[in-house]
């Protein structure tokens, strides 16, 4: 550690850092623009100017940029130096010469970093009398709105988009005070992390285009700490609501998980909460017609179905909270509770947990993944299946080249100098997949093959690392590649293997497990990361219950069936689910949106979404995280677990009936499943008070609390109670930083924008004070003696007349919820099947034409796409986008050109 002097007082600093980082960490209000905690310093804006003195005798000093000044031993700076103060105000003045005075009509107002820095520097008088330069704005797609007149040329956008996220279709153009940030021509931004521009941009140039449809100021929003439900990674979010409508989702900093960035699906996929297809009242189906009924009537019907019955089965959900799943399990009894996940997928998840627990490899957080210096991806397409992971892997490729720049004594935060010295060098990243991925541009080598061939490669890598691992009969190029991969992993300090649920192949999980085990034998500190499809796939799997197939077997004897937040048509093929519905007696469905299951249910209970409930989800890392209710929904909507509690009361189940608040279930859960009792550490209990107060969900400037209900009743209503958490539905409460799991939004006096996050961290870009939220439930164990997996699959052999249909995903549309957002639906691809052009020729399929794909008992008419890099004999079918749901892949199937549609035919067209 070094001693530095700021305004003549000594402070301890990290000499590997710069003086802006140090000042902000210490809580000084030093303004800046172009520096970013995740992207380092470039010295462009000149806003962070301070006076530097050679020693205590130097009275003259000179102006330097704090972000470019190392915090070396003895460094002396003055923030409150008259020249520095004057200069910083001058920088704002310079930015203001061309800046439109848009604040009243600009979306950024109220959370604008430029506003904050302007006030902070004290510049308040316009001396520039000439006119301002203006631009024509571009259409950049449905996510990001552009208003270039507001630009202050800080270059953060282009640095994030190109340098951090690897995007190519966005750049800076022109020069002087005319610099333009945009595309070469109007068009949708291609990068899957483009939405981060709205937070990275310190002014209102890039703003959330979806928020514009229902705009609200930050200070008028009600927030809560929440978790993204669109994939299994568990990124932390801050959704904001007003007038009962979810307005937007922004990133919530979690230093271990998502850091500063979200993917576009997580940011923009929230509109399903506001969808007209929301179920807002209980529905009772009589004579085939679903009618809205009152809560009392719904519960009366439920009692009829359930009271006194011994054989009620419950089907849980990988997207419902642990508490809701547990409530259902307790209600129907563990022997009658089933995971709402198909057998093969459930087996896969179980295997992942087994591997993670039995190999010494650590399951890393996303932050740890960024620091891995050699990576093998087996069979995953992270950009489309677990997007935030792809962004983390892109950073990991920078690790190994740091060794050279460290040697040249270039500080890591001196961003452009590091990138210049590194040029195109990258750390080792090997991607084995069925087709090209969006990470291929940074891959050292890519391997294309059918799932079994990818698994065989993995097994061969393990063998190359440790002769004790099972042999494979790989030959030629594949063996050479396996050796190269093994060498790269062995030479690294923090090697990582990534596999997961993408290809639905147990062999891939086993192969990844073998590589991790072999790395351990080779004395390496290995990491093993598995991706999972849903936000609580891991949690449901950890509960260790029987899969959906067992539920289908049990349904014929069941008195009633309760399905929790699960569209069974998405889990299994139509013929199977049709049969299930025919056999199910008294089907009760709890869900938020109409779907094929609610359409068949006799009783539908309106469940709250993530924004209207509290609960715990377990991410693919094994991190239990709590999401909190953002707002109390209008109408008949209630949290799933509360509905299940109500049903339990009907059945005179005293244990369940006694659950009054969320903590009651958490305690019951921890008692019932001690191995997962760690979920109690995901967030503080509801009774926590800070200086006697709750934590406010609303900023203290929240307006209109009285007026917004005045048309109904002029007397201001009492804000709703929240018995489930230490948060309040109010702006009143504890004003300072709460425990990190309870932070609904970031704010500090003078820092209204997201930059206020700096002051919640122990150290900039480090953990939040008190630790980042979440409790890890899976730690690698000592080896359980089970040894290597030995079932090395045979090499893939194409079949005559059949194709191995494998699943492919798209970030927009493959999940259940995101398509309800118009912006996402606009970008979601149409259902399609991709294949090697030679296969297309064999099948007489032309690109862009329609093909009929028959697989797993279903038939789909989809568009044909050609991908020259795909292995022959394999076809990649986009799954998740209706009607291609519930199909179990990989499976052998047939393809042929689609016949012209027959009136009333049984097939579904895409």
């Amino acid at each position: 550690m070094a001693t530095v002097y700021i305004d003549n007082k000594p402070y301890t600093a990290d000499p590997a850092q710069n003086m802006l980082f140090t000042s902000l960490t210490l809580g000084f209000n030093l303004p800046y623009f172009c520096w970013h905690p995740a992207m380092g310093s470039v010295g462009a804006c000149r806003q962070c100017a301070v006076k530097q003195f050679r020693d205590e005798n130097d009275t003259r000093g000179k102006l330097v940029m704090a972000c470019m000044t190392p915090a070396a031993e003895g460094t002396r700076i003055a923030i409150h130096d008259p020249d520095a103060i004057k200069f910083r105000a001058g920088v704002i003045e310079g930015l203001m010469t061309n800046h439109p005075h848009d604040c009243p009509v600009c979306d950024e107002g109220g959370e604008c970093h430029l506003q904050d820095m302007t006030v902070m520097t004290g510049h308040d008088y316009r001396r520039y009398p000439y006119d301002k330069r203006t631009f024509r704005n571009q259409y950049l797609g449905p996510f990001v709105n552009q208003e270039m007149n507001r630009c202050i040329q800080c270059y953060r956008c282009v640095r994030f988009y190109r340098e951090y996220a690897g995007g190519r279709d966005f750049n800076s153009f022109v020069l002087r005070d005319l610099v333009f940030f945009g595309r070469h021509k109007d068009g949708v931004l291609e990068n899957e992390f483009s939405g981060n521009l709205v937070e990275v941009c310190p002014t209102g140039v890039f703003t959330d285009a979806t928020l514009k449809h229902h705009y609200t100021r930050k200070w008028d929003l009600q927030f809560a700490p929440s978790i993204c439900t669109h994939c299994g990674l568990g990124c932390n979010t801050s959704p904001g609501e007003r007038y009962g409508m979810l307005r937007r989702v922004v990133n919530r900093y979690n230093g271990e998980v998502n850091g500063y960035f979200l993917c576009d699906r997580g940011r923009y996929g929230y509109e399903f909460v506001n969808s007209p297809q929301r179920i807002r009242q209980p529905l009772l189906r009589r004579e085939g017609v679903a009618q809205p009924v009152s809560r009392a009537e719904a519960l009366r019907a439920a009692r009829e179905f359930l009271a006194g019955k011994q054989n009620v089965i419950g089907i849980g959900s990988p997207r419902a909270s642990l508490e809701a799943n547990f409530a259902l399990q307790t209600l129907v009894g563990p022997e009658h509770f089933f995971a709402g996940v198909a057998e093969d997928e459930y087996r896969l998840l179980t295997k992942m947990i087994q591997v993670l627990r039995s190999t010494p490899a650590r399951t890393p957080s996303l932050r740890e993944i960024e620091q891995c210096d050699a990576v093998l991806v087996l069979g995953e397409d992270p950009t489309n299946f677990a997007p935030r992971l792809a962004l983390a892997l892109r950073q990991s490729a920078r690790q190994q080249p740091f060794a050279a720049t460290d040697k040249m004594r270039i500080p890591r935060w001196l961003d452009h100098a590091v990138r210049e010295a590194v040029q195109d060098d990258k750390g080792p990243l090997f991607i084995a997949s069925t087709h090209a991925t969006r990470l291929d541009d940074i891959a050292t080598r890519v391997f294309r093959g059918a799932p079994d061939d990818i698994a065989r490669l993995g097994f061969a890598v393990a063998r190359a690392l440790d002769q004790g691992a099972p042999a494979t009969n790989l030959s030629g190029q594949a063996v050479a590649l396996a050796t190269q991969i093994a060498q790269a992993l062995k030479n690294a300090q923090r090697p990582l293997v990534v596999a997961g649920g993408g290809l639905n192949s147990e062999s891939l999980i086993e192969a990844a497990g073998n590589v991790a085990r072999a790395l351990d034998v080779a004395g390496k500190d290995a990491r093993l990361s598995f991706t999972v499809p849903e936000c609580n796939s891991m949690g449901l799997a950890l509960m260790g219950v029987a899969p959906l197939s067992a539920a289908f077997a049990a349904v014929k004897d069941a008195d009633a069936v309760i399905v929790l937040e699960n569209d069974l048509g998405r889990q299994v093929p139509q013929p199977v689910v049709r049969e299930f519905f025919e056999r199910a007696f008294h089907l009760i469905a709890l869900d938020c949106l109409s779907n094929s299951t609610t359409e068949r249910a006799e009783l539908v209970l309106p469940a709250g979404t993530f924004a209207e409930s509290d609960g715990t989800l377990v991410s693919s890392e094994g991190r239990a995280q709590r999401f909190f209710q953002v707002f109390v929904p209008p109408g008949g909507i209630q949290e799933s677990w509360r509905w299940l509690r109500d049903l339990g009361a009907l059945c005179e189940n005293s244990e369940i009936a006694g659950w009054k608040e969320l903590d009651d279930i958490i305690v019951a859960f921890s008692n019932a499943i001690p191995a997962l009792a760690g979920i109690q550490n995901a967030a503080p209990f509801s009774g926590l008070r800070l200086a006697g107060e709750k934590v406010p969900r609303e900023p203290h400037r929240y307006s209109g609390r009285t007026a917004m209900h005045a048309n109904i009743n002029v007397s201001e209503p009492k804000p709703p109670d929240d018995p489930d958490s230490p948060l309040s539905f109010s702006m009143e409460g504890f004003p300072d930083q709460p425990p990190s799991a309870l932070i609904p939004f970031f704010w500090k006096p003078g820092w209204n924008s997201i930059q206020s996050t700096n002051f919640y961290q122990k150290e900039i870009a480090g953990p939040l004070r008190g630790g980042d939220p979440g409790a890890r439930l899976i730690e690698s164990g000592a080896s359980d003696g089970s040894g290597y997996f030995t079932r090395v699959p045979q090499a893939f052999a194409p079949r005559e007349g059949e194709w191995l249909v494998v699943p492919a995903y798209h970030i927009f549309g493959s999940d259940e919820q995101s398509l309800h957002s118009a912006a996402i639906a606009e970008l979601a691809p149409k259902p399609h099947v991709a294949m090697n052009p030679e296969d297309a020729v064999l099948l007489a399929l032309r690109p862009e034409s329609l093909a009929e794909v028959k697989v797993d008992g279903s038939s789909y008419r989809v568009q044909v796409r050609l991908r020259p890099d795909m292995p022959k004999g394999v076809a990649a079918l986009l799954v998740g986008v209706p009607p291609v749901v519930g199909v179990h892949l990989p499976a052998w199937g047939t393809l042929q050109p689609a016949q012209l549609p027959v009136e009333g035919g049984p097939e579904r067209t895409a």
């Binding site: 010295g43 102006l63 001058g90 002087r176 040249m408 270039i410």
Partner: protein
């Protein structure tokens, strides 16, 4: 008086081809140097007191000493000639490029050997089309003669040399802006450290030198350091290509001993002011230098003396201001250039130069108001060295701050009279 750089410039304006260059003693320096240890060559240049002729005047030998040498040095290393002569008022490199391209090639080869570079680039101003043509020809001749390429002069040393014509913009003449432009990136400058000697072109050790600097090298090698030092009148060795433009009788270029005085240049070589014009001041080294006036005429034109007089020698090509030219208009013309050439990276430059230009425009067009001169003075403080990311804006401040100092009354007349009194 010896004029090593220009002694063989052909009076008919044609270039010296390879044969003529060699007949005049060309490439002897390179042959000699190939028999010396590279570090010896570095020491020789250090001892010669040669300072960079591009404007900054950094000691050349010292610059080279920071290049990592030896078998573990990163490779390839690069030797780059900055032929992007775009400083307004400067046209000295153009003479050397058009008249004696082989002198440059030889100088570059000597420098490349001294730092053990494998690849060399000439980064040429795109508008210098004639220089481009002649350099292409000279490079082809040198390649054919095996003076460039593999195993040059049969020495075992290989050196590739390429000509790259710039796509435009003044910032490409800034050392690190040049490196970025050569890499195909936007011509924004880089921060130093790390210095180009450590992380330069494509992240590798690189040396960037001006045309005139490099042209001195064959002569230093052939004639020695004492000879070089004796050419000068001051402590900075060698000759200097000086120039003058403006309303003088004989605008032009002259190779003279380093340290020739302003008066000598102005009166003896440029012939003094044209009939009917009186001298008011001059920018000694191109647009981005401070005015010198009557009181400074006996200042020797070398790096140290001009700096002591409150200006910079820069490129040594003087722009002369006469009494019939409005100083405000002149400075406005220069600031228009600087504002346009701002790369747009750092706030004081892209915002301040625009503001400066607009204010001067207003003054010239009779729309000046009280407070304008204070705002202009503020901009020169705001854009001081260190406050900006590179030297462009501080350079732009130099003519402005000195004009405000020496010609303040002229500025004030513009405001008082609501017009330009020279129109």
């Amino acid at each position: 008086m010896e004029k090593p750089l220009t002694q063989h410039v052909r009076p008919d304006g044609e270039m010296l081809d390879l044969r003529a260059y060699e007949a005049a003693g060309g490439y002897q320096g390179m042959r000699r140097v190939l028999r010396m240890d590279p570090r010896e060559v570095q020491q020789l240049v250090k001892d010669s007191t040669l300072r960079g002729r591009g404007g900054a005047g950094f000691p050349t030998g010292m610059k080279w000493s920071f290049v990592p040498m030896g078998p573990d040095a990163p490779r390839p290393k690069y030797l780059i000639c900055n032929a992007d002569e775009m400083e307004p008022g400067t046209f000295k490199d153009r003479l050397l490029l058009e008249a004696t391209p082989h002198q440059l090639i030889e100088g570059m080869s000597i420098a490349a050997w001294a730092i053990q570079a494998e690849v060399a680039y000439i980064f040429l101003r795109g508008e210098y089309v004639e220089s481009a043509r002649r350099l292409q020809k000279a490079l082809a001749e040198a390649c054919e003669a095996r003076y460039l390429g593999r195993n040059i002069f049969g020495s075992g040393y290989s050196l590739e040399m390429h000509l790259h014509t710039s796509a435009g913009r003044y910032m490409c003449g800034e050392e690190t802006g040049l490196l970025n432009a050569l890499e195909g990136k936007r011509a924004n400058p880089r921060t130093k450290p790390p210095f180009p000697q450590v992380s330069g072109l494509f992240g590798k050790p690189s040396i960037v030198q001006n045309v005139e600097t490099l042209c001195n090298l064959p002569h230093i090698v052939n004639n020695g350091t004492e000879w070089f030092k004796k050419l000068s009148r001051t402590a900075d060795g060698g000759t200097k290509l000086y120039g003058a433009s403006g309303k003088v009788k004989r605008p032009g270029l002259w190779e003279l001993p380093m340290g020739t005085t302003v008066r000598e240049l102005l009166e003896e070589h440029a012939g003094g002011m044209r009939e009917g014009f009186r001298f008011r001041g001059l920018l000694p080294g191109g647009a981005s230098t401070d005015f010198l006036t009557e009181e400074h005429l006996d200042v020797p034109m070398d790096f140290t003396a001009v700096q002591k007089a409150g200006s910079r020698m820069g490129t040594g090509t003087m722009i002369v201001l006469d009494d019939k030219t409005c100083p405000v208009g002149m400075v406005w013309n220069l600031e228009k250039f600087f504002a346009q050439e701002s790369c747009g990276w750092c706030t004081p430059c892209w915002s301040g130069l625009n503001w400066t230009e607009r204010t001067l425009r207003a003054l010239e067009e009779g729309r000046g108001r009280g407070g304008d001169l204070e705002k202009l003075a503020y901009q020169t403080w705001f854009n001081a060295p260190g406050n900006t990311f590179c030297a462009l804006a501080p350079g732009a401040a130099e003519p402005l701050q000195s004009a405000l100092k020496y010609f303040r009354e002229d500025f004030e007349r513009h405001i008082r009279e609501k017009r330009c009194p020279w129109k």
